[in-house]
């Protein structure tokens, strides 16, 4: 009996070691969200003080170079995907931020309203968490244990191994092994510029996805997450600001009451973090690409210019206040 269990344990150990070696070996993951690794590396490589944008995919087309020119500080666009738990991502990145840095949070409206509509299904949760776990594996393992889902550690581990092996197969058979051996998303430099802005525009599709959706009423969690980030910033010595995301006029008009309520809550809870009002980033539907969160290039040009102005005046005001 002892021999049987010994052999079984040796087999399990061997498989675990193989998996760990695959994960530890530098290489790409065949999934766009693996860009979190590249974006983290980009943040680390930029000298402070930096202007760091965090949020969902609404930030992808941001015009980082224009913002850099206007504000005269390096811009790091960490925006990637709305379903990534932003406060966790923020906490993971907080260790890389220093005094003088300014973090601008631009969360999608769907994420600002109450939890009901935001809850992720299990597949999506694992899909997102696997990449977050690459940033701080220990923290995510502990979280899985604490919330009573310890098997998620194995699921995430297996899923990451699969994505790495698929990248290896894809680029290995294409004769581009060097692409598979670079950490993060394959061909990051083709997808994102030096600021982390997407090099590709969103496809223009009609009807816009998400148009006509009525948001839930804002709840206490709407401002709690942002408050947490502002407090953390204070603790680490950097500034956290909040900008409303872009919204099509039709969605804005449809949800005027809920958005007004949200604005009142945020104004009350985060008076010094807000740099604009929802109406400031309400644009004609025609400027949006495929969803209510994604602006076309033309729309983004306007949004980035507005953001630059809002940030500039906030930074000037802060400086005057400081003097």
């Amino acid at each position: 009996m002892a021999r049987f269990f010994l052999k079984g344990a040796a087999l399990i150990l061997l498989i675990a070691l193989t998996g760990t070696a695959i994960i530890a070996f530098p290489g790409a993951y065949l999934h766009e969200l693996a860009a979190v690794i590249n974006k983290r590396d980009m943040l680390v490589s930029r000298k402070p003080p930096r202007l760091v944008f965090m949020g969902g995919s609404n930030l992808l087309p941001l015009n980082g170079p224009a913002l850099e020119r206007e504000l005269n500080m390096p811009v790091v666009n960490m925006g990637l995907y709305a379903n990534m738990p932003l406060e966790d991502f923020f906490d993971d990145m907080a260790g890389y931020l220093t005094s003088g840095d300014i973090v601008v949070i631009v969360m999608e409206y769907q994420k600002l309203f109450s939890e009901g509509s935001n809850r992720l299904d299990e597949t999506e949760r694992i899909r997102v968490e696997q990449f977050m776990s690459l940033l701080s594996p220990g923290k995510y393992a502990l979280r899985c244990i604490r919330r009573g889902t310890p098997f998620d550690i194995g699921r995430i581990w297996v899923s990451l191994i699969q994505l790495k092996l698929k990248a290896l197969i894809k680029f290995g058979t294409d004769g581009k092994l060097n692409v598979a051996l670079k950490p993060g998303v394959p061909r990051y430099d083709d997808l994102f510029d030096a600021n982390g802005d997407s090099k590709y525009s969103f496809l223009v599709l009609r009807p816009l996805k998400g148009v006509g959706v009525i948001y839930n009423s804002p709840g206490p969690e709407s401002s709690a997450r942002l408050k947490h980030m502002v407090e953390e910033g204070k603790k680490w010595g950097f500034r956290v600001l909040f900008s409303y995301p872009p919204i099509p006029e039709s969605s804005y008009n449809l949800n005027r009451q809920q958005i007004g309520e949200l604005e009142r809550i945020l104004k009350k809870d985060l008076p010094s973090a807000l740099i604009n009002a929802p109406a400031d980033h309400c644009y004609p539907d025609g400027l949006f690409a495929d969803t209510v969160n994604h602006l076309q290039a033309g729309g983004e040009k306007i949004r980035s210019r507005k953001l630059a102005e809002e940030l500039k005046s906030r930074i000037m005001a802060d400086k005057r206040g400081g003097e």
Partner: protein, 506 residues
């Protein structure tokens, strides 16, 4: 509870450990309880149905035995009544809506007003399997081939043994019931054999079947979007998917039984290596095909009747086998097609023999055998179109368009017209290529191709060496390497989707 889930692995480990830990006299109760938990975890009300079937079969068995050894008319009535009750339950859940819609269609054709209402029944998982299992028991008791089981707990365990309750293999009472009374000692050879068999089943399901399913679903759900070459690809892949899915399930069931010391009936013997459709049915879903042979075909007269009658009986058996699979015209068409292919095989036997002699193929038995295997596979793959298609209309469309665009594709390939070949093979839909994201299409296809090569190699080796556990004779290092590669293959290349086993629907 799905077989491919962490819940099942934990459940199975607990049951296996407890099974060997408790004294033999309590094991039946442990297994019965486990079966209830396993089956009831899908929907607790399923247990009521299972209990009803168990009570009917148990009571029916005892009443049948009390009538004595003679096949008296009373005994026949008891058997018929019990079978009608059981088939009534099956029919109520499985066929009522279908027959209702047929009556409605016929009434509409006759210009009559028949208010057809769809009854929202949920088909309980495994119902077709455990009802056929109960019928097999009743017939065996009626024939006097098996004594009625008096211990209700043991009989309930026979009906609810968790490794095989959801999709078979459909056991024969004589093969399974006595095993519940046998004392199974802790035997690590059997446990290793069982675990390896389970792992092979997981590999077939998670690595091959569920990967092939993505392509199959993409094409079969939108057949009008694809040209002939993709309809052929999807049909061939569905043949592989359903084989890996169902034989994978059977491997897990047989392996789980083996871990606990039980020997369940083999359900598949490399069916795609068959050289005729008759042989195919001796190798495919063996527990069901032998059920139909023993309890329908033979009572209808079997091989003892005149050839024409025999062929009619064969056709009827296959037609009913098609209906067993599902309440729909496509399943009936599938069964009828198989019936026709088997009967046509009998009709053409002499002509094929002459053709083989004239062409010289009979002097090259190896090549002749391979050609027969290929033709049998193509017939089976063609018939699967009717099984998989979402409707009979879709099946007829796919079957009728298998050749569309294939000729021009071949011409373009031969003439080197790359642009035309590229245009014909561009099958991206909504950013997906045959159901896969564009980025992952190539690696997924490579993994599928390699895993099919592994499957083919294992099947070829098993065909060559027979069913003897070959691995057991190999050195420990070789065995360990096989286990290691198998588990790594499952973990690192398995698709852990929510794709249910196909046969759970029946």
């Amino acid at each position: 509870m799905a077989f491919i889930s962490i819940q099942f692995i934990v459940f199975f480990l607990i049951v296996a450990v407890l099974y060997y830990a408790v004294p033999h006299r309590f094991r039946w109760a442990l297994l019965l309880g486990s079966g209830m938990v396993f089956y009831g975890s899908s929907a607790p009300w399923y247990l009521l149905l299972l209990a009803a079937v168990t009570v009917i079969a148990y009571g029916g068995g005892i009443v049948l035995e009390r009538q004595g050894g003679e096949k008296l008319p009373v005994k026949k009535v008891v058997l018929a009544a019990a079978i009608i009750l059981l088939l009534g339950i099956l029919g109520g859940f499985k066929y009522l809506n279908f027959f209702n819609s047929v009556i409605s269609d016929v009434a509409a054709l006759a210009g009559l007003n028949y208010p057809s209402r769809v009854l929202n029944f949920i088909l309980p998982i495994g119902i077709s399997f455990y009802i056929f299992q109960a019928i097999a028991y009743l017939i065996e008791v009626y024939r006097g081939a098996f004594h009625a089981e008096r211990h209700f707990g043991i009989f309930a365990l026979y009906q609810s043994f968790f490794p095989q309750i959801l999709a078979g293999p459909i056991p024969r009472p004589g093969a399974l019931l006595p095993q519940f009374r046998e004392k199974h000692e802790l035997d690590f050879e059997s446990i290793t054999e069982g675990l390896t068999r389970m792992a092979w089943g997981f590999f077939k399901k998670a690595v091959i079947a569920d990967r092939a399913a993505i392509i199959v679903n993409a094409v079969f759900d939108h057949p009008h979007d694809y040209s002939g070459i993709y309809l052929i690809l999807a049909s061939v892949l569905f043949s592989i998917q359903i084989y890996c899915d169902f034989s994978g399930y059977s491997d897990i069931a047989i392996g789980a039984g083996r871990v606990l010391g039980f020997r369940l009936m083999e359900n598949f013997r490399r069916p795609y290596l068959s050289r005729s459709m008759t042989e195919f049915w001796r190798r495919w879903h063996i527990s069901l095909s032998t059920w139909f042979r023993d309890y329908l075909y033979i009572p209808l007269g079997g091989n003892r009747v005149k050839p024409a009658r025999r062929q009619f009986n064969l056709f009827v058996t296959f037609l009913l086998s098609g209906m067993w699979h599902g309440a729909g015209w496509n399943f009936i068409a599938w069964g009828a097609l198989h019936g026709f292919l088997v009967v046509a095989g009998i009709w053409t036997a002499r002509v094929r023999d002459v053709a083989a002699r004239v062409s010289g193929l009979s002097r090259l038995p190896a090549l002749h055998g391979k050609i027969k295997q290929a033709i049998t596979f193509l017939f089976a793959a063609f018939a699967w179109i009717f099984f998989r298609a979402n409707s009979l209309e879709d099946a007829l469309y796919i079957a009728g368009n298998l050749g569309s665009g294939v000729g021009s594709l071949i011409v373009n390939l031969v003439t080197g017209n790359r642009a035309a070949v590229r245009a014909a093979t561009d099958i991206s839909r909504n950013g997906l290529t045959l159901g896969f994201a564009k980025e992952s299409y190539n690696p997924e296809m490579i993994i599928l191709a390699v895993s099919l090569l592994v499957l083919w190699t294992v099947d070829a080796v098993e065909e060559h060496y027979g069913d003897a556990p070959l691995l057991r004779t190999k050195p420990a290092a070789v065995r360990l390497a096989v286990y290691y590669l198998l588990i790594c293959g499952i973990l690192f290349f398995g698709m852990f989707t929510s794709q249910q086993f196909i046969y759970f629907r029946f």
